[in-house]
Symmetry: C2
Subunit: 230 residues, 2 copies
């Protein structure tokens, strides 16, 4: 019961293409922005005033932190249904920049609407709290990979994660297109780009996955999952 929205997002076919629509219909707190964004565009920059949360309704994006040495660090990737901006209630400023990886659209949730939902609707509040928990847990999963897994395991976990995020897509979820470059993946996983490239080649040669440019096919999901346990 508590969990109804989270699970709805996974399974209810009516939500397949826009999980947010549940939320939109339900509580009308997110308003679809008319504007579409293109690959490379930014929704906001680190340091901007925080005046709304967003839900990604289509496409994909990355949260990027600019480090002192002039480089970027990708904090996470976002996919349809992800709630963006939860880390900003501390300073009321954006602590990342958000950059789209492909043509995308978002729903905007003003802080006023956010608060109103938190206050006024039991199911809305549960939904939002569940989203908050989910994003914390996702982050901890990445943390776990970085700490306990070697390069190949990190990449496998990453691919499984991406596949998971594509479960709403019409394609079989074992087949998907990466919207990010190898550079992005390497950055995110804390590896050198050459390592990513070599791993793709090796795993392809071993028949574990198929790699064709950015299209990935996971040949045996269960085997991959098991390989993480070793």
């Amino acid at each position: 019961m508590y969990n109804q929205y989270a699970s709805t997002l996974e399974s209810d076919p009516s939500c397949q293409h826009s999980p947010l629509s549940c939320l939109c219909l339900e509580k009308d707190i997110a308003k679809r922005l008319s504007r579409q964004y293109r690959r490379g565009e930014a929704l906001f920059y680190m340091g901007d005033k925080f005046d709304a949360l967003y839900v990604l309704s289509a496409g994909s994006a990355k949260s990027v932190k600019n480090t002192v040495d002039g480089n970027e660090q990708i904090i996470n990737f976002h996919f349809p249904g992800d709630l963006i901006g939860l880390e900003c209630f501390n300073d009321m400023m954006h602590v990342h920049s958000l950059r789209f990886l492909e043509n995308s659209s978002v729903c905007r949730i003003s802080l006023q609407d956010f608060n109103r939902t938190l206050i006024g609707s039991d199911t809305g509040r549960r939904f939002l709290l569940s989203k908050i928990s989910h994003s914390i847990v996702d982050e901890q999963q990445l943390l776990l990979s970085l700490v306990r897994h070697d390069a190949e395991q990190r990449l496998v976990k990453f691919l499984l994660y991406i596949a998971q995020k594509h479960k709403q897509s019409p394609l079989p979820y074992q087949v998907f297109n990466l919207s990010m470059t190898r550079v992005d993946i390497a950055n995110y996983l804390g590896l050198a780009i050459e390592t990513i490239s070599r791993l793709f080649s090796k795993m392809h040669a071993h028949g574990i996955i198929k790699v064709n440019k950015r299209q990935i096919t996971l040949c045996n999901v269960e085997d991959l999952q098991e390989s993480l346990l070793a």
Copy 2:
């Protein structure tokens, strides 16, 4: 204004020893548990029903995830003022075990009270949202260390983080006792315990820090902070 509670926790001397007291006094949502916990005791275990959040009011603790291979992974450490349990709204179960590192006490916030505060009090809601953001950002900081820093930088960042958490203590904050073992630190930072040991020895020899068993002295905090930027 939005930020008043967060900053109060840092600076208001009346909150020095129990940051939570702000919250207790303010909204009466957290009730100090009479029971004190001892080193090694658990507050809850992974899989337990999630029926309350906690604020650590004294001592320290670790959140631990049991991995499939029978090992543990420390997800984070907790210090006075930290809000514990935010990751549980998804499944309404605890996803970590919480284990105290020294004699400690906690304040319990029932879900009912939590919701009531979210609904009923503007300042309480802001305070809680700020806490949520803070814990997400903390986690991302660790993530950044793991991805971008080598072993020494990770350890330095960890020590600065601990020092930061001890700013409320009567001691000068450059001097503190680690409540966790070398094993815990290694586990948390994704390093071998021998690496931690060697780094402590090396940094001690170089006069960067002083190490005496578990007591650490940071000889020059600014130098340490700068060393992270390189």
